[in-house]
Every structure is written in structure tokens, then in C-alpha cells.
Symmetry: C2
Subunit: 227 residues, 2 copies
DNA sequence: CCAATATTCTATCGTCTCATAGAATAACGG
DNA sequence: CCGTTATTCTATGAGACGATAGAATATTGG
């Protein structure tokens, strides 16, 4: 085996992984899976994609070694193969953000820029929590909270936030976090909270980023209901 | 613009970058560019690809925002858009390595496993250099050395190593580094050095990784000859 | 302004990929 | 062991992509 053949084989393998990152749906699935393992059904619903397509994409991801499966009754659960996959996806997003003006345009259309400016970094958040200066809420679906959350955070899924406002202290500032830098749950939570007269900001990143930063992640013991 | 449309647009942009990572040649070009800027001609030669193909791939990379160009006389120089791109490529390689048994098989065919075991990590290397315990040689082509190298390292391109052995101290251990974890220059250098009775090891990673680790990189002032 | 050089642009053909439909498989509940 | 549910496998047509050939562009030097 000579130089060229070696290089070609090597880069062919890298490209195999790279190729699976070339589809919007697959990237969305990876982002969802970064929140914790999920069934095909849940992934299909949360990505608004037919189950058959979802299954096909998941197969591609598995063949590239990015995700793994395990069976639980008639359900099959998918999860990321390891944290390096999360890091890879985030790295891709980071490069995209810096390089593609389009992403800025797209996000500007949806995300209010002022909210972004006020976002709390994870290290700041950590300090604020240590000082008990803030109330932190996790506005993701409950199963994602159960699969892993910031210790001390309250699970208040976005859908429940409106009717559970009383549970939250009135004075302390509230920090909402969700899936990641491009997840809009925390943004909507902040908007709602402010409308109701609370002081609130969003975290700049989400739970997967917290994990990647090496901070402690807590799990709810009783395994979550599916979904 | 609603949730789904926003997400779709966002992930479409990420996928645009991801897609360009799906071709072996493009990944190879990115790896080469991580060593410093190069002309199309140099890239074509070093990747053993026709210029036309190289140009086409470079165009794809530029459209995705991963590389930038500048003109210098009749030559056009390409360079990575920023260090995040290097990090992305390394992240991809890391995930590939962990996940694809094939990469291990491929590398095992070419890289001698024992050499890998003895590789010096960059932080170790840094310590050894501080103590002046080793001689460090950069076995990449000289233009890559000029574009950026470990301070204190000697430029000894692999092709010149055989006839320049006298320049290297006889007692001190020699550490060779090159382009990155999968570059074979340093491996071949170590093999040659040992054959000639020197104590030698390779660095586990290359110059781009040194840069990413945040260590100081030195440049040769007189801009290198092309190539 | 013309020739030479480096590079890109445009167009073509074969190949790969995607979405998706229909059939198949695997585990559970009765 | 049979029906049900969750999921995968197989097959197919439309479209996208890669390698590459030929024409075009931009800069330099005369």
C-alpha cells in the first residue's frame, strides 16, 4: 500500500462521516439526539418528518457510526455514539455561523437580536447559580430534562410555563435554557416571562453545551416516559 | 416565518457546510490548507489531483465559506477562513477515528502501531522543549514551515533528512512533527533516524493542532517561495 | 495591446442520493 | 400463535454531484 492509496482510503473514511453531515434532516436529528436518547417515533414527530424518512436518515447515521441503537420492547431507541459527535455538530454550527451570512439573516428573522445580546454564558450562569442569585428553568420537554439537566434547574416545559408561573419566585431573575444556541424555546420563555412582569434572560447555550464544557449533569432516576 | 420554516432554513445552512465535508478530496485540501495558504497549483500537486478538479473543489469550499482567496500576481492563494475550520476538520477526524473501525484498519496497514504508541503529545513536547531535553524537527516542506512552525524547531523537510543528518545532535533525542495525526512524514522521519542510530520519536499531532492548543506559532519572515 | 500563465466558468455524462411506497421483520399482548 | 405496533428493508424515479473537457477570464511581461 503506497502513500496515495493510504491517503485516499483514510480521507474516504472521513468523508463518509462528513457526508452524513450534509443533510439538514440528519443534522436536526443529531441535535435532537444531543438532548438524550429518543425513539424513532419521537424523533420523527419532533423533526416533523415522516417516520420512514426518519428511519432512513437514522440508518445513514448509524452506518457512519454517529449513533447507536438499543431495543426496548417494540421501540428502538437511538442515541449519539459519544460526546465527540455533539462536539462535531457544534463545531459545524460554529463554522456555519461565522462563515455563512445566510445563517445570520435567517436567525435575525426569527431571533430577536436584543435577546441574544442579553444571553447569559454558561460560565456566568454557573457562577450565578453558585451565588443563588437566579432561578434556572429548563424549558425543554420533560423527557429531555430527565435524560440530563443542569443540577438545581427546574423542569418547566415551555408548554406549561404560562400556567405554572406561580411556582417561580417573583423577585429573583429567571434564566431559561433549552437545547442549544439555536433553540428558540428559551427565547419564547423569556418573552413570555417578561410579558408577565418577570425579570428573565436566556442562556446562550443549551444542555449539550453544558455537558461539553465539562460541568456536572444530573439525571432524573425513574426512566422517563417515552417521548 | 414560523418554527418549522426557521429550523429548516437554519439546518439547510449547516448542511451546506456539512455537505462540503462529504468529499475525500475536499477534506484533503482542507488538511493541506491547515498548514498555511497555498496556490491552486501547489494544492493540486500535493493532493495528486488534476488542477481542474482541484479548482472545482476549491470553489465548493469557498462557496461554503470554509476558505478564502487572494490574488498574488497570476497566482491565486487559498487559505482557511479561520481556525474554527481547522477545529471542525479535526473534530470530524476524531469522530471518524473513534467510530469507524475501517480507519483503524486502514491506518494499521500503513502506520506502524508501535510508533503510534511512542508518540509524544504536544503538551509533553512543550515541556521537553522547555527543559531543552530534545531536538525538534519540522519535516514538512519548507514553505509550510515558513508559514508557521513550533518556535525552536528546525526545518528539515523529509526529503532532505538523509543528507542533513550531521546537523542534528547525536545524543539528544529527536522529535519529529508534521501536518497532523494522520500525516506520515514524521513516521518516516523517525524510521529513518532510528535506522541511522538516533533516538527519535514522533509527535502525536501536527502544527495545526499546536496552533489550536493555543501555543505560540512562529513564522519565517521572508514570505516563502510558492509551493 | 498581445502572448503566456494561472485559474475559473460552462457544459456533459455517468453515478450516487433522496424521498417515498410496499413488503418484511421483531417484539409484545392476548 | 395471531394480530398489532414499531421499525426496517427493498425498490424506484427524480434530481444532485463528481470528474473532466473546452472555452473564457485576469494578470503579467514584453
Amino acid at each position: 500500500m503506497d502513500h496515495r492509496a493510504f491517503k485516499a482510503a483514510l480521507y474516504a473514511q472521513f468523508a463518509r462521516v462528513g457526508h452524513t453531515l450534509g443533510s439538514p434532516k440528519r443534522l436536526e436529528l443529531l441535535d435532537l439526539l444531543a438532548q438524550g436518547e429518543k425513539t424513532v417515533e419521537a424523533l420523527a414527530e419532533q423533526s416533523a418528518t415522516p417516520i420512514k424518512n426518519t428511519s432512513a436518515h437514522l440508518r445513514a447515521l448509524r452506518q457512519a457510526g454517529l449513533v447507536e441503537t438499543s431495543r426496548e420492547g417494540t421501540y428502538i431507541r437511538y442515541r449519539l455514539a459519544d460526546d465527540h459527535v455533539t462536539a462535531l455538530v457544534r463545531s459545524l454550527q460554529e463554522v456555519s455561523r461565522r462563515r455563512l451570512a445566510e445563517v445570520e439573516q435567517v436567525t435575525a428573522l426569527y431571533l430577536d437580536r436584543r435577546d441574544e445580546m442579553e444571553a447569559v454564558t454558561l460560565s456566568e450562569l454557573r457562577r450565578l447559580m453558585r451565588d443563588e442569585a437566579v432561578t434556572v428553568i429548563d424549558v425543554r420537554p420533560r423527557d429531555e430534562f430527565d435524560a440530563g439537566h443542569i443540577p438545581g434547574a427546574l423542569s418547566v416545559p415551555l408548554a406549561e410555563l404560562g400556567r405554572r408561573l406561580d411556582e417561580l419566585p417573583k423577585r429573583k431573575e429567571i434564566i431559561a435554557y433549552c437545547r442549544g444556541p439555536y433553540c428558540v424555546y428559551s427565547l419564547e420563555a423569556v418573552t413570555l416571562l417578561r410579558k408577565r412582569g418577570r425579570r428573565a434572560r436566556r442562556a446562550a447555550e443549551g444542555l449539550p453545551d453544558w455537558r461539553l464544557a465539562g460541568y456536572v449533569v444530573e439525571r432524573t432516576l425513574a426512566p422517563a416516559a417515552t417521548r
